[in-house]
Point group: C2
Chain length 344, copies 2
DNA sequence: GACTCCTCCTTAATCAATTAAGACCTTAAT
DNA sequence: ATTAAGGTCTTAATTGATTAAGGAGGAGTC
């Protein structure tokens, strides 16, 4: 059932039928009505979108590539915020959002994606999917990581944001810090991470965020290698709880814990409560992203996930127009009630 | 830059180049290597996916149509669970998931979506988007609402689930119930809903869920029109809080409140705490979906959102094979610590 | 009457691939 | 030497649309 079917039925040309659907001004009203009538009668579904896409040279969709499986992506409030922003931009432009799986199994999805542009979020350095995305020679923006010179990048100043979090507790007087981070590596490791693991992370944003912690500590004369560092494989409250237990059972007990995500920080709060520690009197906790921090009164670094998403969408929908290469979004230390000077 | 460009460069036919990419066995190794080399050299991005789609007659994507704007959809844990399930199914099949906006502005997105099938979730009765979806004559499954005879439908037995929730508190001895529901209408109304508004809802699933409440009440001899019924326009904890305040400030005060979603129930708990009411000693609260209930110890009706998503994906990827018309998923009353016999 | 100008429709090129069928050239078998 | 079989590549039809350019006919103007 194509345009031709209807054209044949009415004894007109295929072009005429096409005009009936897409350019009413090119046709007499009577004929147009008759064409639409016959189309309806025959159950014609309208011009084939794939064929239109081919002819018009536009797909009407943005491709989105997330870290890991989608299931994990949607467990993270920060990712959801970003996604909402991107969806808003797509909605405004009337284009769809094609969510692409990119597991190990199916490599063809990137190659076969009918999209006008790609948005890539949080891929490890040198991930093969990134190569495939660039091979498509479509507009691409990368969010958070990895930064690829020559391609638009959106994200915050990670070292500065990390340093701001660390400096905050240091300035409150803390000297015994602990760190819990997720998303450094993807070997599923949960436990203490030595310097090599920390610096060898394939995830640029997290690596840089961590380097901000380190820098602030070193500037304050705190021995960084002596700061206990717990690594998590999953971003969940339970994971945070586990890290919290591990860190808080050490001797001497840290008086401040820095975390990588708000969700993790909530888990640390759970662990503190379990051990009978009062926050912030006995322990200070800092989250990250301000995605799930407000209700719990968590001190955190706010980053505007929705705006990043919207801006990413806007840039992609610009087509081939010149794009800024690095768009650094602001971050902000939000001080709530989970941080205070250390116990004396 | 097409297959032809490369063919011309090498003096071979376009077909040969196509085979080099998609059917290596049809070509000598040497020529194939040369072709891929030249393609690489020229920066050819690989066979155009749109053209492939057209020729092969498959889009490699599933279209997903949600209620309202995406921003709201992703604020609802139940919707996210469903989405994860659908994404898993798509991932397994190596197809993408095309999220379609369907605001008032852009009607073309459904018509223009390059997809093999549609999944529609929670649309009000007679929504124009539904007509457009069916006009595409592609496989469609509808989730939750509205049930359209002749098309596959996935969801729970809403009246039974609603009745189970109501019967639970009734059997505990409660006689003074209150109800808070979201998603009945889309006129933005927040406030008391009379019988006409309740029954006139355009959202079939919610209408039927409510009818389950009513039926259980009537069976127990409780005067349904006398049950205070508060309607919300948005599914948020704040909305639930507002409904909770309204319901709990009535005289006589209800001893049990039934809600439409877990998120709403959490808000009711907030309101109860504010008023100094102990749950479950002074007040029983029942949620719905078991999407955000566990942490708060909420009694709720569990429905398997992820499985529904996976099953929806599986059905859609079946192609034109025969599909069951109505797939009713189980629901289960999960009793936690938010319900107990009423105060004596 | 000749000219121009519209309106309405058709012709045909184009978008970028896939693939069955056929042509041509080597080998191998009889 | 002839035939069959295989391997390798080409031909050409096909997928389903869009749209610039052109032609036919009627209306309006001088």
């Amino acid at each position: 059932m194509t345009l031709q079917t209807i054209a044949d039925r009415l004894g007109v040309s295929r072009a005429t039928v096409s005009y009936a659907f897409s350019r009413p001004d090119q046709l007499s009203d009577g004929l147009r009505r008759r064409i639409l009538e016959v189309a309806d009668e025959l159950g014609y579904a309208g011009p084939n979108p794939t064929a239109r896409s081919l002819r018009l040279g536009r797909a009407g969709a943005l491709g989105l590539i997330f870290t890991e499986t989608l299931a994990y992506a949607f467990a993270d409030p920060y990712a959801i915020g970003f996604f909402q922003g991107l969806a808003t931009a797509a909605e405004d432009a009337g284009v769809g959002l094609l969510i692409l799986p990119h597991g190990a199994r199916r490599r063809e999805t990137v190659k076969d994606a009918v999209v006008d542009a790609f948005c890539v979020m949080s891929l490890p350095d040198g991930h093969p999917t990134l190569t495939e995305v660039f091979a498509r020679r479509l507009p691409v923006v990368v969010v958070d990581e990895p930064y690829v010179p020559g391609h638009p990048f959106l994200g915050i100043d990670e070292p500065a944001a990390g340093a701001a979090a660390a400096r905050h507790v240091i300035e409150l007087g803390h000297r015994r810090l602990g760190v819990a981070m997720v998303g450094l590596n993807y070997d599923g490791h949960t436990g203490w991470a030595d310097q090599a693991r920390q610096e060898g992370s394939a995830f640029e944003a997290m690596r840089r965020r961590r380097s901000g912690y380190q820098q602030a500590c070193e500037q304050a004369g705190i021995d960084w290698p002596g700061v206990p560092f717990y690594e998590l494989a999953r971003n969940s409250r339970e994971a945070g709880h586990r890290a919290g237990r591990a860190l808080l059972e050490r001797e001497p007990r840290p008086t401040a814990i820095l975390t990588n995500t708000d969700v993790l920080a909530l888990g640390v709060l759970d662990a503190a409560a379990e051990l009978g520690l009062r926050v912030p009197a006995d322990l200070s906790v800092v989250g990250f992203s301000d995605s799930a921090a407000e209700k719990a009164g968590l001190t955190t670094i706010r980053q505007a996930s929705q705006e990043v998403g919207e801006e990413a969408g806007r840039l992609l929908l610009l087509g081939d127009a010149a794009k800024p290469e690095r768009l650094v979004f602001p971050h902000e230390l939000i001080i709530r009630s989970s941080t205070a000077p250390p116990p004396s």
